[in-house]
């Protein structure tokens, strides 16, 4: 314990700054890409060049995005070192730092103070959510998913829709998962946008009250756009019909040279 403490003390500044840095890069940047990619289920529908129906355009666009990601060489290595470790680092230190504060919005209900408190709350919730999200979708811990659906990267939209519904049809547990996704994604987007704002103060990029305010508008803009993307993703996946989406994905796979053998067995 003492060695841990002295390590923390010795490298205090470095760790603090790495915590701030990892929040923006790579985690924040990843969130940016992740949500815009996911939102392709909606913005793909707006792309008139592909497919016949809106659903088809959405599902195909999203599948293409996922395929592109999965074509990355050494994907696991990139994930582990570029994402999971930074997230674990940011989370662990975040909890450690957050525990040093005593929120007091009751006595001082100022907007910035609410954001301070929410930053910590959203951090805690975000950690639980990210763990659930990665465990269920990446590591295949399907026992945590209502309906036991496993996400497949080559049936990206349809399996996601199943997970958010609890199967091909809506279930109460599925609705709860959808709601949780909606709330948690919103929290994470807030966490990122507000973190982007505070990091500029931490690093001393915005000094004057005016600069802080204006950077605040920028961060609020980024946050709003990301929030839209996040909501679009969740609502997009939750509202598409998994069965129809699966058909589109099958055609998409066939068009690319076929991956039909990984088609999940229809649920009884």
């Amino acid at each position: 314990m003492t060695t841990n403490e002295s390590f923390m003390q010795r490298n205090y500044f470095l760790l603090r700054r790495l915590h701030s840095l990892t929040g923006v890069m790579p985690i924040g940047v990843f969130l940016l890409f992740h949500l815009t990619t996911n939102a392709s289920i909606v913005w793909g529908m707006l792309d008139s060049r592909e497919g016949a129906t809106a659903l088809e355009r959405g599902v195909r666009t999203f599948q293409a995005e996922v395929d592109f990601i999965h074509s990355t060489p050494f994907l696991l290595l990139v994930e582990v070192f570029g994402l999971w470790l930074p997230i674990a680092f940011h989370s662990l230190l975040g909890v450690y730092y957050a525990r040093t504060g005593r929120p007091n919005t009751g006595a001082y209900p100022y907007q910035a103070n609410w954001r301070y408190t929410l930053q910590r709350t959203s951090g805690y919730i975000g950690i639980l959510f990210i763990f659930y999200h990665v465990a269920t979708l990446r590591w295949g811990w399907t026992w945590m998913v209502p309906g036991g659906v496993e996400w497949k990267h080559n049936f990206a939209a349809s399996t996601m829709a199943q997970i958010l519904r609890g199967g091909d049809e809506w279930t109460a547990a599925g609705a709860a998962v959808s709601a949780a996704y909606f709330v948690c994604v919103s929290m994470l987007v807030f966490h990122f946008a507000n973190g982007l704002w505070t990091s500029a103060i931490t690093w001393g990029l915005t000094i004057s009250a005016r600069a802080q305010k204006q950077w605040g508008y920028v961060c609020a803009g980024v946050g709003a756009a990301l929030m839209l993307a996040g909501w679009a993703s969740v609502l997009g996946f939750a509202t598409i019909d998994p069965v129809k989406a699966r058909e589109i994905e099958l055609r998409h796979a066939a068009g690319k040279g076929g991956a039909a053998e990984v088609l999940p067995a229809p649920k009884p």
């Binding site: 500044f13 040093t100 007091n104 006595a107 100022y110 910035a112 301070y116 802080q212």
Partner: protein, 274 residues
């Protein structure tokens, strides 16, 4: 003898009475209790004049004779920083807390509590030694050779003077610390050097780093602000700047010191001297 007491032009309520609830505590570690007093107030009265009245008439509204409450005060014109307390849940200077604003109607209640971030000595009086200790952590002084005559100091533009003057009006009242969610009670003086230093000290570090001679100690100040309890511990709740009675741009100071420790850290990482 007192004919024609000056009155202010602002219309004010006539003499009336209010209830003042005071959180009392006989000493460190002793249990706290509330006592209420019914106090007649004149127009223009403030918390201090009310406390002075209670001290002279220490009988609770239940008719119980009690000890005069203990509180800290000094100049009574909001320049010495002594009379900080928590009034109706918010920290502020009690001298500038006017009864007509806080309890405008007959019978209104005002609640007085000591600050929560410092050890209570008795009643409303706390021990703010840690606040002053933190000024030592950032070496908040100009390292002059001595007081013998050596000619004048450095010339300075009015713009820079304006910035330094504003920072230099910090009266160490502790409002910024009381309102800060990151500044938490620390009864053990041995831990003061690694617990959060607070907005006031960060701002003082900026003040002295701005001065031509003061910046001779900039490296040491930035070392202190880089370490545990330094500027990185700020959580940007920005309550400090909201409650500062002197309107000191504390959050700007925090950002400015954030930049300074960033550069300092980078230079140190590459072995470059400041």
């Amino acid at each position: 003898m007192n004919n024609g007491t000056p009155t202010a032009s602002k219309p004010r309520s006539a003499a009336r009475s209010i209830t003042v609830r005071i959180k009392r505590c006989d000493g460190p570690g002793k249990p706290a209790r509330f006592e209420s007093f019914k106090v007649p107030v004149e127009p223009g009265a403030n918390i201090i004049s009310v406390l002075q009245w209670i001290a002279a008439h220490p009988t609770t509204d239940g008719g119980q004779r009690t000890t005069p409450p203990v509180w800290d005060s000094g100049c009574l014109e909001e320049v010495c920083g002594a009379c900080t307390m928590v009034i109706n849940g918010k920290v502020r200077q009690s001298c500038s807390a006017l009864i007509d604003d806080l309890a405008p109607a007959e019978g209104d209640t005002i609640t007085l509590e000591p600050m929560t971030k410092f050890p209570v000595m008795r009643d409303l009086m706390v021990d703010r030694s840690r606040l002053f200790h933190n000024l030592r952590r950032v070496k908040a002084w100009v390292p002059i050779d001595g007081t013998y005559n050596q000619g004048s100091g450095p010339r300075e533009s009015p713009e820079k003077q304006e910035v330094r003057y504003t920072l230099s009006t910090c009266m160490s009242c502790g409002c910024c610390l009381e309102a800060c969610p990151q500044f938490t009670p620390e009864p053990d003086p041995a831990a003061w050097n690694t617990s959060f230093i607070g907005a006031h000290a960060i701002s003082q570090a900026r003040l002295f780093n701005l001065h031509d001679t003061g910046k001779e100690l900039a490296t040491q100040r930035l070392d202190a602000l880089s370490g545990p309890g330094g500027v990185s511990d700020c959580g940007n709740a920005q309550n400090c700047v909201k409650v500062c009675p002197k309107k000191i741009p504390l959050t700007e100071s925090i950002a400015a010191m954030g930049r300074a420790v960033t550069l300092h850290g980078v230079k140190r990482f590459f072995g470059v001297k400041d």
